[in-house]
């Protein structure tokens, strides 16, 4: 393997890892506070993609449609929290998980009924083609994903570390009851968590839709499996762990599926990684023991 090839594969893995990170960070945010495995995030991801496509067809502007799709998805996420999860918080968490799975299936069927079963093209001419950086090819859409992911993570970190809302979120993640007693409006903080995580999911959905030029009803399936694997591998509730897990998994998948005879799909690799890791380190990479 030449150095150039190695570098190209590393770039490919980083591009893939940034997609995974985008998907998983929202799940980690929700789990960190509510201890809910928000599988329906995959449906919101798809909703973001469909919304983004619809708005792009109306406006012709990728940026405007992306931002609006993120807002719409954020609202959907907040509504799900308010009307579906919040009434279930007094019950065992398995109840919320079952509801979440049901929601995901509903999302998929709704998209099929509304938009049909076939994939829809999400072709953005300005994001076609590649940049050639001294022999390394980075497609325009991948460059957009990397840039957007970096911006989102910086913004997220800023909100969590430097704002009152972020303080409330971190406090609720540590101890929700005490946070309430301290006079912090936990319900509003949780709504914001769902809004933010859903908006991030929508960003992922739109960008992946453009990347593969395909928006389709089951596009959230991959997210559902991978996202759960990543928050477990990273350590439940650990945002840094989730990001680290995303890139590690992307690199592992790239190597195993391209260069070895391991007969596993990418999802299979993710699940194997998960099982092996929790055998030796049940708290995940950066989770607390």
């Amino acid at each position: 393997m030449t150095l150039n090839l190695l570098a190209q594969q590393l770039v490919n893995a980083i591009e893939l890892g940034s997609i995974y990170a985008m998907i998983a960070v929202g799940l980690a945010l929700v789990y960190g506070v509510l201890r809910i495995l928000h599988v329906a995030q995959a449906g919101i991801y798809s909703a973001g993609a469909f919304t983004g496509l619809f708005l792009y067809q109306k406006t012709g502007s990728c940026l405007v449609s992306l931002l609006l799709a993120m807002v719409v998805a954020g609202l959907i996420g907040a509504l799900i929290e308010r009307f579906i999860y919040r009434p279930m918080l007094t019950r065992p968490r398995i109840v919320a998980l079952i509801a979440s799975i049901g929601l995901l299936i509903c999302f998929s069927d709704i998209f099929r009924i509304v938009a049909g079963p076939n994939q829809l093209a999400f072709d953005v001419p300005s994001l076609r083609g590649s940049y050639d950086l001294g022999g390394l090819l980075i497609s325009r859409i991948d460059a957009a994903i990397l840039t957007g992911t970096a911006i989102i993570f910086v913004l997220l970190r800023t909100v969590l570390q430097k704002t009152k809302l972020g303080f409330a979120i971190r406090a609720a993640a540590q101890d929700i009851e005490t946070t309430e007693v301290m006079g912090i409006n936990v319900a509003r903080s949780v709504s914001w968590i769902f809004f933010i995580s859903s908006a991030i999911a929508a960003f992922g959905g739109v960008m992946v839709g453009i990347l593969y030029n395909a928006v389709y009803p089951d596009m959230g399936d991959m997210i559902a499996y991978k996202g759960l694997a990543l928050i477990v591998i990273g350590g439940f509730g650990s945002l840094s762990g989730t990001v680290l897990a995303s890139f590690l998994l992307a690199i592992t998948e790239t190597i195993l599926t391209t260069y070895t005879a391991v007969p596993l799909s990418r999802e299979g690799v993710a699940m194997l990684f998960l099982v092996l890791l929790i055998l030796v380190r049940p708290q995940g990479l950066l989770g607390r023991a």
Binding site: M1, T2, L5, Q8, Q9, N12, A13, E15, L16, D109, R112, G116, P117, N118, Q119, L120, A121, D123, R128, G129, S130, L137, S139, Y212, N213, A214, Y216, D218, D221, M222, E253, T254, T257, T258, Y259, P263, S265, R266, E267, G268
Partner: protein, 420 residues
Amino acid sequence: MCMNCAMASLQLNRAATMPPRIASGPSLTRRSFGAGLLAAGLTIGKRAQAADTVRIGTFGPFTGPAAGLGLQAKKGIEFAVQQFNAAGGVNGKTVELISYDDRGNRAEAVSVVRKLIENDGVQAIVDGSLSLTSIAAAPVVNDAKIPMVAAYSNAVGVVKGEDHVFRWASVADVQGWVVAHHAINERKFKTFALLMQDEEYGRGIINGAERGIEELKGKVVYKKAFAPAEREFRAIMTEIKALGVDSVIMSGFSPSLTSAARTGYELEVFPKAQFYIGCSATEIDWYNGIGSYGQGTIAALEFLAPTNHPFTKQFVADYIKATGEKVVSHQAGLSYDATRLVFDAIKRGGTTANGIWQALGETKSFVNLSGIEVKYTELREPMLPIALSSWDAPSQQYKLVKFEQEAALIDPRPWYKYYK
């Protein structure tokens, strides 16, 4: 569990938990009422067939991840039925089509096929489903002695050993075999990368390609399997680019084909290397997803429509007008032809299952959607010419490279020995 059985079970369970009633002569208890409903439901479920119709069944994935394929097949079948009935049917009888959703699921396919046979009393089935579900359903159909024509499922296992199951499509291995011969004999390629969708259809194409490459002294330098829903091919295409192969042969459904094609073109693997793909190249998802990429991709198709043949030109025009579709997709075209084959058998053999089966078995040849006369083998498989076609991105359609009709290349029979 089907809905009827679930409802009946619910009723019986509820009846079982009711407090005992004091008997005072014959009375209609809830238990007996529920049991009566169940019996009525089962009786009503076996629908009576009108004397002036013949019932044909079909099944396929109308919901779920493969719904795009199943719904297209259903359109082709329904169009054929509509045409047949509009032309007066046969011997004063029209066709009643009954269709069920198998959701792309083996157990569901078995269940709906049983329903078609036992409840609906169909005399023949046009199978509009995938290879994996068709393989599951075939023994049920065969045991019931109902003739079935598999429209587009390509795995050998669908037909092999099931003497009431016929196929209209090609055996998957034939496609790969034809592609390998074209690549080496006509294009003089020597080195190959093979990408295989890891299920019955995908394995068949690559099996045929690999054996063809081996026989013609070509060399496979890279081979990878991937899951049916896979769309991420950057790492694989990067490696293929580094290997500098002459050609990439890929099997898969069109979402994967589209992603691989786009990635290959973006990474400049194609058109430097020739991209060959299988018959799924004319699924709707290819037309929707390929965009401006894919120029020069060669597909091994089971028909091409339209051709210059007046029959196909008229069919394409009528089909597009009736359905609102932009193209005749792979599933729609093959299902249309498979249904016509059944109607032809009805005309020759009568409207009973046995008559249709015998007529299908006696079929020596049939003119397909491309206007070509297709011969039938004793294995109930067609010698289907492969339309090698090249994708023209500006016009967004396939252009014919050649109809491969050489018997040694399109004969499905030699491939049976590779499958149990």
